[in-house]
Point group: C2
Chain length 69, copies 2
């Protein structure tokens, strides 16, 4: 398992937090997600053999947020 | 049918808009809802014989927003 902190723009409320959390948790290989609204980021624990940064970015961006990594 | 504009605090994003819209549309007697995020309000067309302002306020406040009417 590895950890990465995604820098995410556009999250404003609890609904946004939930949307981003769900989009990442649905990916195979993502084990844990912790979104911090105040810091505009998401800490993700994942298996790099199963899921890539690019896939995580796409999942979040599909929800309407920008990922700055 | 009558119209009322609810002044709502705390809506920040499209998810909030949808949550408020749904909460009002689910009430018997509410015919139409138009949430305007920029103006922090919701224009509601309703049948006053079926639904009261108090019920509309409760529905929105249950979603976590304040109604200032």
């Amino acid at each position: 398992m590895e950890n990465i902190t995604l820098q995410i723009e556009g999250m404003t409320c609890g609904h946004c937090k939930q949307a981003v959390t769900n989009s990442l948790q649905e990916l195979n290989g993502v084990e844990n997600v912790q979104v911090n609204l105040e810091q505009n980021n998401a800490e993700v624990t994942y298996n790099p053999n199963q899921v890539s940064l690019e896939q995580m970015k796409e999942a979040v961006e599909e929800q309407g947020y920008d990922v700055k990594n």
